[in-house]
Amino acid sequence: MLAYIVRRVLYAIPILIGVNLLTFTLFFVVNTPDDMARMQLGIKRVTPEAIVKWKAERGYDKPLVYNERSQGVRALTDTIFFEKSVRLFAFDFGRSDNGDDISWQIRNRMVPSLALALPVFVLGLYVTVSLALFQVLFRGTWLDVWGVILCVAMMSISSLFYIIGGQFVVSKLWRLVPISGYGEGIDVVRFLLLPVVVGVIGNIGANTRWYRTIFLEEIGRDYVRTARAKGLAETAVLFRHVLRNALIPILTGAVVVIPLLFMGSLIAESFFGIPGLGSYTIDAINAQDFAIVRAMVFLGSVLYIVGLILTDISYTLVDPRIRFE
C-alpha cells in the first residue's frame, strides 16, 4: 500500500514540472515582462524608466533562465525562472504584483472558501443521490419522466441565473438573508445559507441525471436479479444492494474534487462577497495580477493531482476486486 502511494506521488512530479514549465512559458515567454509592465502602467504613464522601476520592484528585471552576470549556481538561481517558477515547488508563492504576501492570503482565505464549498459538496451529493434513487424507484412512471425533463431543463440554465435569481428573490424581495458579505463566528451561517442553497440547486440537474444513469446501469446486473429472486422487496433491493454498489463509482468520482474544494468557487464567492480563494482569483484576474494567477494555477494543479491520487487509493479501498500493483 505504502509503496503504491509512494509510486503515485513520484509519478505526480513530472506532471507538476510540466505544469510549471507551461505556466512559465505562458506568463514570461509569450509576453515579456516589458509587455506586462506596459499593460499595468497604462498608456499615459509609460516611460522606459517607469517600466524599469516596475520590473525592479517586482523582481522581473532578471534574465529569464540564465544569468550571465552571476557566478556558478547563481547563474541559474538568480533568474526569473528560478525565483518565480521553481520556488513554487516549495509552496513559496512570493508576493503579488501589488505587493502583498500570497501565501498569507491563501492561508487566510482557505477557511471561508471551505466554509462555502464543503456544505455545497456534501449536501449536494446527498440531495442528488437521493433524488436519483427516488427517480429510479419510480422508473418508467410519469414521476421519472418528468424528473428527467426537469433535470434537463435545470441543467440548461446558467449557474449565473441561479445566483442572480436567488439573490433577487430571497434577499431583495423577501429580505430573509443579506445579499452578500461574510461575518464572524455563528453569524457566518446567515451569510452562507443562500450561497449553499443556490449552489446545491444549481448542481441538481446535471448530477441527478448522471447518478440516475449509474443506478439504472447497476439495476441491470445479475446480483439484482438474484436479490429479487430471493423475494426481496424492491425498496430493499434498491437501498441495500443497488445503492451500495452504485456508490462506488459515485463516491470515487466525487473524491477527485475534494482537494479542489479549497480553491472555492469563482462565481459564487464573488457574487456573495465571500472573502475566499475564488474571489481572490477573480479580483486578481480583473486587476491583471499575474503573480496571483500563476500561484493559483500551480496550487490548483497540485490539489487536482492530490485528488487523483486519493481517487486511486479510494478505489482500492472500497472495491476489493481492485488490487495494488
Partner: protein, 474 residues
C-alpha cells in the same frame, strides 16, 4: 457593398461545408443512415432541432458581413463605410435605428426614469418623457393595450397562416410518398405513426412561428423586450448574441478537433514512447483546473492584442480575433477528454481482424489510420461535438462574467448578463435585459441538450457522459 470575411465567418463556412460534405459522403453508409433515422424518430430531438435550426439561421445571417456603400454627396459613387455590418443587421435595421435615450420597459411608451421637463409657458416639472419611437404612433398612450393586442393578433394570424402552408406541404409530401389520401396522411402525422417525427416538427414550428410573428409585428412600433442603458433595443442585443454563442459552441470543438483526433489515434495505434508522451501531455494539461488555465491564457492573449494594435484594421476585426482566440483557448484547454476517449477506442480497433489483415497485406500505417481507424471513430467525434455545445455556451456566459470571455463590445449572453446584474438593484427594477438573456439562452441550451441526447442515443448509447469534457461550471 463590399463583402468582408472575418476569420470566424470563414471557419463557420468551413464547418458548414464540412458537415454537408460528410453528410453527402455518409449517405450511402447504412449504419449512418440507420442512426440518423433513429434521430428522426425521436420526438423531443426533432422538436428541439427545429428550434435549434432557427437559432442557426439567425447566427448564419449574422455571419455574412459586408461594408455598406455610403452615397457620397455629389460624387454619385458609393464609398465603403468604415463600419462592418452583417446581413442580420440589414434585416433588423429598424431595431438598430430606433434607439431611445436610456432604459424603457417592454412595450413602454415612456422612459423609465423621471426627468425635468419643460411644459408650455416655461413651467418646469418632473415626469417620464415620451419615447422617441416606442409607441410613438399612438395619439394617446391609453390606447396602447388595444393596439398591442390588435398587432399581436395580426401577427398570430400571419404566423398561423404560414404554419398552415407548412403543414399542408408536409401532408402533401407524405401523402405522395405513402400513396394515401391527405386526410389519412394528416392522421398518421397527428398520431405519430410516421418514420420522421413530423408531429413534433410541426408542433415546434407552430410554437416558433406563433411567437416570432407577433414579436416581429410588434417590434415595428414597440420595444418588445425594452431598451437597455444606452437606449438600444434589448431584442437586438439578444439576436446578435446568438452568433457569439453558436461560434463558441461549434468552433471551439472544430479548433481542438485536429489535436484530439491526431494525437488520440497516434497514441492508441502506435503505442510505445509516443503513447507515453501524449498521455503525459494530456495528463499535464488536464491537471490544471480549466477555469484557471483559461484565465491565464486569456490574460496573456489580452496583453498580446493590446500591445500589437497594428495587427487589426478595424474594431470588428479585433473583436473577432479575440472571439476566435477564446475559442482556441477553450479548445486547447479541453481537447484532453476527447483525446483520451479516441485513444481508448483506437486501442480496441487496433486489435480487430480487419486492421490486422490490412497490416499483414503491408498496407502502410498512414493509410490504415485513414481508411480503417478514422472512419470508425467519426461517430465519437460527432457525439463529442454535439454534447459539448451546450456546455460551451454556458461556459461563455460564466467566462464573460469573470472578465475573461469575449470582447466587452461583442454582443454575447455573458456580457448581457454582466450588464444586467447591476440593473436589478435599481428602483424600480430593470428586469427585462436579464429576462431576455435568460429566455434566449434557455431556449438555445435546452434545444441543444435535447438534440445532443437524441444524437447520442442514436449513435452510441454506451457512451453516456464519457465524451463530456471538463468545463468551468462556475
Amino acid at each position: 457593398m463590399m463583402p468582408v470575411v472575418l476569420w470566424t465567418d470563414a471557419l463557420i463556412g468551413l464547418l458548414l461545408a464540412g458537415s454537408v460534405a460528410l453528410a453527402w459522403a455518409g449517405r450511402r453508409n447504412r449504419l449512418m443512415r440507420d442512426a440518423w433515422r433513429r434521430v428522426a424518430e425521436s420526438r423531443p430531438g426533432m422538436a428541439a432541432a427545429v428550434v435549434l435550426a432557427c437559432f442557426v439561421v439567425i447566427g448564419l445571417a449574422d455571419s455574412i458581413h459586408y461594408r455598406p456603400r455610403l452615397d457620397a454627396p455629389g460624387a454619385g459613387v458609393g464609398v465603403p463605410a468604415a463600419e462592418v455590418v452583417s446581413l442580420l443587421d440589414r434585416l433588423v435595421a429598424g431595431l438598430r435605428s430606433r434607439g431611445e435615450k436610456t432604459y424603457s420597459a417592454p412595450f413602454a411608451t415612456h422612459l423609465y426614469a423621471k426627468e425635468t421637463l419643460e411644459g408650455p409657458g416655461g413651467r418646469q416639472f418632473r415626469d417620464t418623457p415620451r419615447l422617441r419611437y416606442g409607441g410613438s404612433h399612438l395619439k394617446r398612450p391609453g390606447a396602447r393595450a388595444a393596439d398591442v393586442v390588435f398587432r399581436a393578433v395580426e401577427g398570430v394570424a400571419a404566423g398561423f397562416a404560414l404554419w398552415l402552408l407548412l403543414a399542408a406541404a408536409v401532408v402533401r409530401r407524405l401523402a405522395r410518398a405513402q400513396a394515401c389520401s391527405p386526410s389519412a396522411a394528416w392522421w398518421r402525422i397527428w398520431s405519430g405513426q410516421t418514420a420522421v417525427a413530423w408531429n413534433a416538427v410541426l408542433a415546434a414550428a407552430g410554437v416558433v412561428l406563433l411567437v416570432a410573428f407577433p414579436v416581429a409585428f410588434l417590434s415595428g412600433q414597440y420595444h418588445v423586450l425594452g431598451t437597455d442603458k444606452v437606449g438600444q433595443d434589448v431584442l437586438l442585443a439578444a439576436l446578435k448574441s446568438i452568433r457569439t454563442a453558436l461560434v463558441i459552441g461549434t468552433l471551439t470543438t472544430l479548433v481542438m478537433l485536429p489535436f484530439a483526433v491526431v494525437l488520440g489515434i497516434l497514441a492508441g495505434y502506435l503505442g510505445g514512447w509516443i503513447d507515453d508522451l501524449i498521455q503525459y501531455l494530456y495528463t499535464t494539461l488536464n491537471s490544471i483546473p480549466g477555469v484557471l488555465l483559461i484565465a491565464a491564457s486569456v490574460l496573456m492573449m489580452q496583453v498580446l492584442i493590446d500591445t500589437h494594435p497594428q495587427w487589426f484594421q478595424s474594431a470588428a476585426e479585433r473583436a473577432d480575433a479575440r472571439l476566435l482566440a477564446l475559442c482556441a483557448i477553450l479548445g486547447v484547454t479541453s481537447w484532453t477528454g476527447l483525446c483520451r476517449l479516441l485513444r481508448g477506442e483506437t486501442l480496441k480497433l487496433r486489435e480487430l481482424e480487419y486492421v490486422e489483415a490490412a497490416r499483414a497485406f503491408g498496407v502502410p500505417t498512414p493509410r490504415i489510420l485513414a481508411r480503417h481507424v478514422l472512419p470508425n471513430l467519426m461517430h465519437l467525434v460527432m457525439i463529442a461535438m454535439v454534447m459539448d455545445f451546450s456546455g460551451l455556451v454556458l461556459a461563455e456566459a460564466v467566462l464573460s462574467y469573470v472578465g475573461i470571455g469575449v470582447d466587452p463590445n461583442t454582443y454575447s449572453f455573458g456580457t448581457m448578463i454582466n450588464a444586467a446584474r447591476l440593473e436589478l438593484s435599481r428602483e424600480p427594477v430593470v428586469w427585462w435585459s436579464l429576462a431576455a438573456a435568460f429566455v434566449f439562452m434557455f431556449a438555445l441550451v435546452l434545444s441543444a441538450n435535447l438534440v445532443a441526447d437524441a444524437v447520442r442515443d442514436a449513435f452510441d448509447p454506451r457512451l453516456v457522459g464519457r465524451a463530456r469534457r471538463r468545463l468551468p461550471a462556475g
